[in-house]
C-alpha cells in the first residue's frame, strides 16, 4: 500500500498528490513515470513523475481527472492509500550536452511535467524560457513555481482571458522571430500541441524533445500496447521512451491509437457520475 501524504487541488480538474514510496523516490529522475492502481479492480494507469523527494521518500504526481481511474484517485484524500505503485519506469530525459538556452513548453496539465524539467535545467544554470498554454484563466496551474525556475515565463490562453491570446506555438514562433536562439525545446502536453510545436521548430532544426503518453499496461515492454512510430521504427514508449525526438514521431498514428477506448471511457465517466450523484469531481 502506498499512502497519500499530501493532496492539493491545482484547479477544478487537476490534482497534485504526494505519495509515500521511498524506493521509487530514491531512483526517480526527471522524465520517468510511475504506474498506479487504486485497488484490486482498478486499471494500471501511467503518470509521469512531477517531482520526488529522496529524503522524505515521496513521489509527486499531478493528474487531470479525465477517466475513471483518475477520477477515483482524485476522490481519495490525505491518509488514504492506493494498492500499487510501480516505478521509476522509462528512460530519464536527456538534454543535449552543452545546451545553454532551452524553451520548455507545457500545455494544460502537461505543465506538471514541464515544470520539473524547467527546474532541473534552471538549477544547473541553463537559461530557461517557459511557455505555458491553457484554455482559459481559471485553469492556470503552477504559475509561481514556473516563474521561479525560468528567465521568462510566457502564459498563453486560448480565449485570451490571461496572458497572450493564442497558442503556445504562436508565442514560440514570436520568440524565435525575435531572435531567440534555443539549443533545445522540450514540449509536454496534448498530442496535437506537441505535434504543432515540432512543426514550428523543424524548419530551424531546433532539437525538440516530446514526452508521450500512449495506452499501456505493464510499463516494462511486455504488452506492446504503447508502440509508437519514431523515425519509421516501432518503439515502445514504456522502455524506449517516454521521451522521443519530436521531429521523428508519427503523431497522427499516436492520436489514433490513444482513441482506442474512447467509447468505453465515455461510458465509464457517465457511470461514475451516477455513482457520485452527478459530480465528476466529488
Amino acid at each position: 500500500m502506498y499512502k497519500i501524504l499530501k493532496k492539493k487541488e491545482l484547479n477544478a480538474q487537476v490534482t497534485l498528490m504526494e505519495l509515500e514510496a521511498p524506493l521509487i523516490a530514491k531512483k526517480a529522475l526527471a522524465g520517468q513515470f510511475i504506474i498506479f492502481r487504486i485497488d484490486e479492480f482498478g486499471e494500471r494507469i501511467p503518470l509521469t513523475i512531477a517531482d520526488y523527494d529522496r529524503e522524505k521518500g515521496t513521489v509527486t504526481i499531478i493528474f487531470q481527472k479525465v477517466g475513471r481511474s483518475t477520477i477515483m484517485l482524485g476522490n481519495l484524500n490525505e491518509g488514504d492509500s492506493i494498492l500499487d505503485l510501480v516505478g521509476p519506469l522509462g528512460v530519464p530525459t536527456e538534454i543535449p550536452e552543452g545546451a545553454k538556452k532551452v524553451a520548455v513548453i507545457g500545455g494544460g496539465v502537461g505543465c506538471a511535467i514541464a515544470y520539473p524539467q524547467a527546474k532541473a535545467l534552471y538549477n544547473v544554470g541553463v537559461e530557461v524560457d517557459v511557455i505555458a498554454g491553457f484554455r482559459s484563466r481559471d485553469i492556470v496551474i503552477l504559475e509561481d513555481e514556473m516563474r521561479a525556475v525560468s528567465k521568462n515565463l510566457y502564459i498563453t490562453t486560448d480565449d485570451g482571458t490571461y496572458g497572450m491570446k493564442g497558442f503556445v506555438t504562436n508565442k514560440l514562433q514570436e520568440l524565435i522571430d525575435a531572435g531567440n536562439k534555443y539549443d533545445c525545446v522540450i514540449a509536454i502536453g496534448p498530442v496535437p500541441m506537441m505535434k504543432f510545436v515540432c512543426a514550428v521548430t523543424k524548419p530551424y532544426g531546433i532539437k525538440t524533445i516530446v514526452s508521450l503518453n500512449p495506452i499501456m499496461i505493464d510499463g516494462t515492454g511486455m504488452c506492446g500496447g504503447c508502440r509508437v512510430r519514431v523515425g519509421g521504427q516501432i518503439k515502445y514508449a514504456c522502455v524506449d521512451g517516454p521521451d522521443f525526438d519530436g521531429h521523428e514521431v508519427d503523431f497522427d498514428e499516436l492520436m489514433h491509437r490513444n482513441s482506442a477506448y474512447k467509447e468505453q471511457e465515455q461510458h465509464d465517466r457517465e457511470h461514475i457520475c451516477r455513482l457520485t450523484g452527478g459530480a465528476v469531481n466529488a
Binding site: L23, P88, T220, G221, M222, Q264, D268
Partner: protein, 460 residues
C-alpha cells in the same frame, strides 16, 4: 491385472457450445473412481520410460501405484518431491510430447493419462494437504527475479533447504505467465494462487510492483545482502510481423490481450479493465498462446474467430488438446496462410487481414518443413481485431542494467550447465535463457539453478 482398456479414461468436459461463452475450466478433475480406473492402466514398467520424458523427473509409476492403492496423499507427496507445482503441470504440460509420449501403452492405443492423474492428486489434496513445515533457516539469503514457473520452482527448492528467499515480481500479482498469460478456463487462477500461498507458507517472501533493473539493480540486490540471484524474467517482449497496418487500433499482441483478460480480469464486470469488444477476430500464430488468445476472444463475445497459421496442422506447436478444444468450440483454422497486411477501415481501425496462401517445402536440415508463398493467391479475411501470437523475446531490462551479464544474439542469457551466467552468483533459467518455451522446462531450469545455488553458497 492391469486395466487393458485402449483409451484413456475420459475426463468430463464442459459442453463446447456452453464453455465457449464462459471462462470456467474446460475439463473436470477425475473422480476417485475415474482416477483409480486410469491408474490401473499403468503397467508399472521396470525401466520407467515415462520418467525419462519428464523435464523434472516426476516419479510417475510410483505415484500412480499409490493411487491404485488408494493412498492419494502419498501419491501427492511423491509428486511433490520433484515437482513443486503439480496442479499447474497436470493441466498445462505438453504431456503428449513428454511423459506420455514414452508410455508403453501408447504403442497400441492411448498412453496412460499421466497429466490427468497428476492433476487429480493435486486437486484432491488441495484442501487436505497440511501446511508444510517451515524448514530451519540456514541464514543465507537468495533473491529471485520473476515469479513465473522457473522462479517459483527455484524459490520452492531453496526454501525447503532453509534459504531465506525473496521473489521480486514486476506486476501487481505473482505468478508470471501462469497469471497473466494462461487463461482461467485452462488454469484457474485460484489454483496458481494456492501454489504461491504454499510457497509463502514455506517462508518465501513475495514482493510485487518491483521492476528489477529499475527500482533496484542486480548489483544492489547483492549490496542488500543477497548472496545469489536467480533471474527468471521470462520472454516478455511481444514480436510483431513488421507488416503494414500493425499500428491500427484493434491490433494487439497476444500478451496485451491475454493480460487484460487474465491478470486484469476484463471479462468480469467488477473490474475497470477495458478490452476491445470485437465480433470477428483473427489470431496469427500456431502455438498455445495463439489458442489461448483465440479461445479468450470467443469467450469475450466474438462471433467468429480464426487462427491464421502459415504452416499446416502437423507443424502446429500448440498442445494437441488445446487445438482439439479450440476446434470443438468453433474456432476456424486457416492453415498455410500468412498475413501480408492489416487493412484500415479508413478511420485508423482494423477492417480485415490480407493474406497469402502458402505451400510446404521439403524439410530442412533440422527436419522442419518450411513454407513459401503461392503466387497470386492473395485473399482477405474480414476482422475487426487482429491478435499477434507469433512469439516473444526476452526483456532487456536486466541485461541493460547489469554489467558483465552476457546474452546471445536473441537477447537470451548465456548460462553454463549449472544455469550460472557470466556473473558470479547470478543464475538464470526458463524462457529468459531458452526463449519462449514451456512451463515445465522453465520449472526444470529453476530446480537445476536451485541446486547449483545451494552448492555455490555452501562452498563459498
Amino acid at each position: 491385472m492391469p486395466n487393458m482398456q485402449l483409451t484413456k479414461t475420459p475426463a468430463k468436459e464442459q459442453d463446447p457450445k456452453a464453455r465457449a461463452k464462459n471462462f470456467k475450466e474446460v475439463s473436470s478433475c477425475y473422480t476417485e473412481e475415474e482416477a483409480l480406473n486410469e491408474a490401473q492402466r499403468c503397467l508399472n514398467c521396470k525401466n520407467k520410460p515415462c520418467v525419462s520424458g519428464c523435464p523434472v523427473g516426476v516419479r510417475i509409476p510410483e505415484f500412480i501405484e499409490k493411487i491404485r492403492e488408494g493412498c492419494i496423499s502419498e501419491a501427492y507427496d511423491i509428486i511433490k518431491t520433484t515437482n513443486g507445482l503439480p496442479a499447474v503441470c497436470g493441466r498445462v504440460c505438453p504431456q503428449e510430447s513428454q511423459c506420455e509420449s514414452k508410455c508403453v501403452r501408447g504403442i497400441k492405443g492411448e498412453p496412460v493419462g499421466i497429466g490427468r492423474l497428476e492433476r487429480f492428486c493435486a486437486d484432491y489434496m488441495a484442501d487436505k494437504a497440511s501446511a508444510p513445515e517451515k524448514p530451519q533457516p540456514n541464514g543465507h539469503r537468495v533473491a529471485i527475479v520473476g515469479s513465473g514457473p522457473s522462479g517459483l520452482s527455484c524459490a520452492s527448492d531453496l526454501a525447503k533447504l532453509g534459504y531465506e528467499v525473496t521473489v521480486f515480481e514486476a506486476f501487481h500479482t505473482a505468478g508470471g505467465v501462469l497469471m497473466y498469460g494462461i487463461p482461467e478456463f485452462r488454469l484457474p487462477k485460484a489454483t496458481v494462487q494456492r501454489e504461491i500461498d504454499g510457497l509463502k507458507a514455506l517462508g518465501v517472501k513475495v514482493e510485487t510492483d518491483m521492476v528489477i533493473g529499475k527500482i533496484l539493480s542486480v548489483d544492489e540486490l547483492f549490496d542488500d545482502g543477497f548472496e545469489a540471484v536467480f533471474i527468471g524474467t521470462g520472454a516478455g517482449l511481444p514480436n510483431f510481423m513488421g507488416i503494414p497496418g500493425e499500428s491500427l487500433v484493434g491490433v494487439f499482441s497476444a500478451n496485451e490481450y491475454l493480460t487484460r483478460t487474465n491478470l486484469m480480469k476484463a471479462y468480469l464486470d467488477d473490474y475497470d479493465t477495458p478490452i476491445a469488444k470485437s465480433s470477428k477476430v483473427a489470431v496469427v500464430g500456431g502455438g498455445n498462446v495463439a489458442m489461448d488468445a483465440a479461445r479468450s476472444a470467443l469467450r469475450l463475445g466474438a462471433d467468429k474467430v480464426y487462427i491464421v497459421y502459415r504452416r499446416s496442422a502437423d507443424e502446429m506447436p500448440a498442445r494437441r488438446e488445446e487445438v482439439h478444444h479450440a476446434g470443438e468450440e468453433g474456432i476456424e483454422f486457416k492453415y498455410l496462410t500468412n498475413p501480408t497486411e492489416i487493412l484500415d477501415d479508413g478511420n485508423g481501425r482494423v477492417k480485415g487481414l490480407k493474406c497469402v496462401k502458402m505451400e510446404l517445402t521439403e524439410p530442412d536440415q533440422s527436419g522442419r518443413r518450411g513454407v513459401r508463398p503461392i503466387e497470386n493467391s492473395e485473399f482477405e479475411i474480414e476482422a475487426d481485431a487482429v491478435i499477434m501470437a507469433i512469439g516473444t523475446s526476452p526483456n532487456p531490462l536486466i541485461r541493460s542494467t547489469t554489467p558483465g551479464l552476457e546474452t546471445n544474439r536473441r537477447g537470451c542469457f548465456i548460462v553454463d550447465e549449472n544455469m550460472l551466467t557470466s556473473r558470479e552468483g547470478v543464475y538464470a533459467g526458463g524462457d529468459a535463457v531458452t526463449g519462449a518455451a514451456t512451463v515445465i522446462l522453465a520449472m526444470g531450469a529453476g530446480k537445476q539453478a536451485a541446486k547449483a545455488i545451494d552448492e555455490y553458497i555452501k562452498n563459498k
